[in-house]
Structure formats: structure tokens, C-alpha cells
Symmetry: C2
Subunit: 322 residues, 2 copies
């Protein structure tokens, strides 16, 4: 029985989580520290590495650590670097994987958060045994990890899988990227709020004028929809319609067997899934119809990032041992 352990690390704008995960996906230790706002990445990395070493010794697993996987915003798999991450105070291109490797003396692999979570879904979630699927995170924005033939698609530069910035509506909503009509302007928590406010302004201008717009968020729209509010329900339907259309187009590229939705908006469940599936099947080329599933991720929300990060290391170790 292989007793190896991998570390999974999730670097976020607010907190950095770290963990030890065994081959079965059991988290045998986890903790977190504030990411802090130091411009020097050594500060955070030094702290996390000391913590990891200390905990490994305490658990008696210091000789079992076989690899480290890291999920980080703007993480580049090929270079192991974090590049101009908008939520971190580090400037420029930081060789994060190497900085961990030098301190921990084990192979370290890094990619962005959505890619790491996609790998987590394959190792420890609902995509076990699948070789072709797409993982979508519906949070503030829309992130994606595309798996083809059992491996993540990184592209020639490490930046593949930016489905949030596929243009779905020509001359559509202004996106933060400078272009118009990007998928994440419609299918994300932010997009849902925009849709709701647009619909409300049209369908109930009095209420629109009266409400405090800053209190509207995806959770409040979800609750309104559950209580039968028509504008809220229509907002979910529209979000699903656009998402289903985008996923149908995605199939013509990589023909996956499943899509997994993750993150705040995915927790709306059937409210989002039903209109998404209807639009998906309607927009699919006939050879793809009725054989591709769309479901909510099987990863536990709270541990998905750590499981995903560690699975990145497990995946590389599996490749080496093949």
C-alpha cells in the first residue's frame, strides 16, 4: 500500500490554505494563514513551508511527502509562476513553484484555481474515471478547466481554458477585459445581478427605482426566485439559456462526456440546471444530443481548492510512475 502524501496549497487573495492529502483524497491535515499584503512573496511562502514542515514532523509523515500541488490566481503550469495576479500584492512574475521546491525538496506543480479544481473533480469528485470533461466555476467571474484525454488542456502558453472570455453575444455587455459580450458577463454571480437589474428595470420600473441596488446579490436573487418572484426566476432562466448555448458550442470543440458546475451560482441547483440543460440540448449538433451530462460538482465546496491542488501533484506522480 502506497503511503505517500501530497501537499495541496491554495493561494487566495485573502487567505492561503495548505493541507496534506493522501492518495484516496482524505485530508489528513489542513490549516490556513492570511495571505497578507506584503510585496515580497518570500514572506508568505516561508511561513507556509515552515508550517508544513512542522506539521509533517508532528504527524510523523516527513518522509512520505511525495509532491506539492498549488492552485493560484494567474498560475502558469509550464513555468510554475504566478504572473501579475490581480488579487495579490506581488508584482510581476513570481517563480512560486520553484520557491516551494527549494524549501521543501519535493517536486512542486502549479496551475490556476479552476484547472486545479478540474483535476480535483477527476481524482476525488464526480469525474472519476472520466477522460474528457469540462469544469466550470461560477463565482464572481467564470473560470474553466478543460480535460482532454485524461489531462488538463494548458495550450502552448499555459493559458488555455479561459471560457469566461468566450464572446457569446456580439456587442453585448462591457467586460472588464475591455471587450464586449464575454460569457462571464452573463453566467456568473455578477452576471446574474446585472440580468436581474436589467429585467427589473424593464418589467417593474417602480420597484427598480425603489430598491437599494447594493443589496442585490446572487444569494438574494436565489431566495427571491425560491419564493416565486417572477423577475428572479426569469433571471435564472436567462442565465441558463446563455450558459447552455455556450456549453453546446464547447462540445463542438472537445466533445466532453460531462460538464461540472461549481461555485456560488452552481449551488442554486435546479433553478440554474433546468434552463441550462434545455438550452444545451436545443443548441447541440444532433450527433452530440442526449449523451452529455451537466451536473453540480461532486467536490465539497470548502475543500475543493485543497483537493484540487493536491490532485495536481498526484496526477504528475502518476505520470512519472507509469
Amino acid at each position: 500500500m502506497d503511503q505517500s502524501i501530497c501537499a495541496g496549497i491554495d493561494i487566495g487573495g485573502t487567505n492561503t490554505k495548505y493541507s496534506f492529502v493522501d492518495r484516496s483524497g482524505k485530508i489528513i491535515f489542513k490549516s490556513e494563514v492570511p495571505t497578507g499584503n506584503s510585496a515580497d512573496p518570500n514572506e508568505l511562502i516561508e511561513r507556509v513551508c515552515n508550517e508544513l514542515k512542522h506539521s509533517a514532523n508532528r504527524l510523523g509523515i516527513q518522509d512520505l511527502l511525495a509532491g506539492i500541488g498549488i492552485g493560484a490566481p494567474n498560475g502558469n503550469y509550464f513555468s510554475g509562476t504566478v504572473e501579475f495576479a490581480p488579487n495579490l500584492n506581488w508584482y510581476g512574475i513570481i517563480p512560486v513553484a520553484k520557491m516551494f521546491e527549494d524549501r521543501m525538496n519535493v517536486k512542486t506543480f502549479l496551475t490556476n484555481d479552476a484547472n486545479a479544481a478540474a483535476m480535483g473533480e477527476m481524482y476525488f469528485g464526480s469525474a472519476k474515471g472520466m477522460k474528457d470533461f469540462v469544469f466550470i466555476t461560477l463565482g464572481t467571474g467564470l473560470g474553466s478547466g478543460i480535460v482532454v484525454n485524461g489531462d488538463l488542456v494548458y495550450g502552448h502558453d499555459g493559458f488555455a481554458g479561459e471560457m469566461g472570455h468566450v464572446i457569446v453575444i456580439q456587442n453585448g455587455r462591457q467586460c472588464g477585459c475591455g471587450r464586449k459580450g464575454c460569457l462571464e458577463q452573463y453566467c456568473s454571480a455578477t452576471g446574474l445581478v446585472k440580468t436581474y437589474l436589467e429585467f427589473l428595470a424593464n418589467e417593474d420600473p417602480e420597484k427598480f427605482s425603489a430598491i437599494d441596488k447594493t443589496t442585490v446579490n446572487s444569494k438574494s436573487i436565489y431566495e427571491m426566485a425560491l419564493s416565486g418572484d417572477k423577475v428572479a426566476i426569469n433571471s435564472f432562466n436567462y442565465t441558463g439559456e446563455i450558459l447552455g448555448f455556450a456549453l453546446a458550442n464547447t462540445v463542438a470543440y472537445t466533445s466532453p462526456e460531462a460538464f461540472f458546475l461549481f461555485g456560488g451560482l452552481a449551488e442554486a441547483g435546479e433553478l440554474l440546471l433546468v434552463p441550462t440543460k434545455i438550452s444545451f440540448e436545443k443548441n447541440l449538433l444532433s450527433i452530440y444530443k442526449n449523451k452529455i451530462s451537466i451536473s453540480v460538482s461532486g467536490l465539497p465546496e470548502s475543500d475543493a481548492a485543497l483537493l484540487g491542488a493536491s490532485s495536481l501533484a498526484w496526477n504528475e506522480l502518476n505520470k512519472i510512475s507509469q
Copy 2:
């Protein structure tokens, strides 16, 4: 020096071509027979296999044949079958690879024409050394072969890479697939003709009424454009605008380093390439800008199908020997 030889076979609606190709991409023998309209695929396959055996003996290479690659309409890589091909008289699902394997006693691999040509571009064309690129055939329709990390994307069912049926314009032109706004309704020889006739009807209704529409084809539009005809030039510009947009969206999926255009429409060269590149860069997410090339395929038009088919076998042999 490896003296192995692979056979490359291209099954088309009218003719079936077959060849022997060495590892450097040199065609050492090629010939063709009419595909015929027999409902029994054994007829064609028997004929081609006899020809191949006869020619191999004559050339003294009968012991060097290491593999067979086949490009065929609706070819499925996983099953080695040709499934309900619209241009062939065979009915149902035909195990074409196995039928060749049984007769020739060498491993046989099969995929659709565009996938085979994409592999040919990687082995013998302009994509040598590339691991991530997209190959587009612009003929009557639009076919595509997507290469990720050095291998073709087949998807879970063998039907990935149907970019001709990505919907680019919601409620756009009616497509033969039953849906509306598919890419190949705009970016193909057929699409160019539709665009030209639409533009002509708007811009010069008198000429539109006077001309014999059956004489308009992509070649005649090309010639008109070269001679300065504004409607013809605008038609190429519009085709390039849509193509550039679709390729920019493609990048957000697989982040390739290059696109290669092949087939009748690609031969228009700069007339199509210039507007395509302008629209492509305009629609790209900034992290992808100014680093992805779009160019005409490096494969010779006449031998592309045979080189592509044989490269399919070379690729599999390389995998085995690794």
C-alpha cells in the same frame, strides 16, 4: 536508419486514393480507384488491398509496411469505423479499419479527413514541432482538427473538432444540420457564395436580377475580387471578419500557437487572410494578442489527404515505440 513504410488511404465520395509514404513524408507510390457506388464496402476494400499488396511486392517493400492510416468521411478514431457517411453508398456502421487490418496484417488507424490532414500538417507540413495548433479546412463546408499537447482531440466519442457547427450568429443562416448560424454557413466556399449574393442583392439589385446565380462560385468571386469588384472584396472581408471572430473564441478554449487554413477558400491567400487576422486580433483576449499565427497550410493541396492519412499511422507507431 528506419526503413519502415506506412500506407496512407483517403476514401472520398468519388475516388479513393492510396499510397506508400516513408517517415520523411516522401510519397514513394500513389494511385487511385473510383470509390464506386456499391453498397458492399468489401468491394472497394478488397480492390485497394490487392493493389497495395501488388505494388508493395513490385517495389520490394512488402516486409517494410508498418502501419496503415485512413482518412474517411465520418471516420471514428476510437472504433475504426465509418458511420453513416453521407457521401458513400455504404449503409450503417462499417468497421473499415478492421477490414483493412484483416487483409493486410498490419495495424490500421482511421479518422475523419480534417483530423488526418491536421496530423499531416504536424508531421510533414508547417506545424512540425508544434504541440498545440488548429487545422481548418475551408471547402464546401468547414472541417477542423484540433491538436492539443501533440495529439488530436477526439473527445469521449471520437467526434470532437466539429468547429463548422459552432454557432457564431444567433438566429443566423439556416444550416444543413437543422440549426441556425453555424460557422460553416459563413466561412466556406458555400458561405462565401451566400454572402456575395446577399451583398449583391442589397448593393446592386439590378446586377443581382440579371446574373445567372448558378455560375457564381468561390472561384468566380475570387477572380472578381482580384479585378477590383467591390461586392466581391466585401464578401471576402465579411468572411474573414466572422472567421477571425470564431478563431479568437477558439483560443479561449485551447490556446493554440497557430491556425492553419486549408482548402479551396484558403487558396484566396491575402484576400481572406488579411481581414481574418484583423478581426482575430480585435476579438482576442489581451493575454493572447500578437503571438498566434494564422497562415495557409504547408501541405501540398494534391497530396494533403494521403500525407495526412499516413501520418496517422506514423503517429501511432511513434507512440508505441516511445
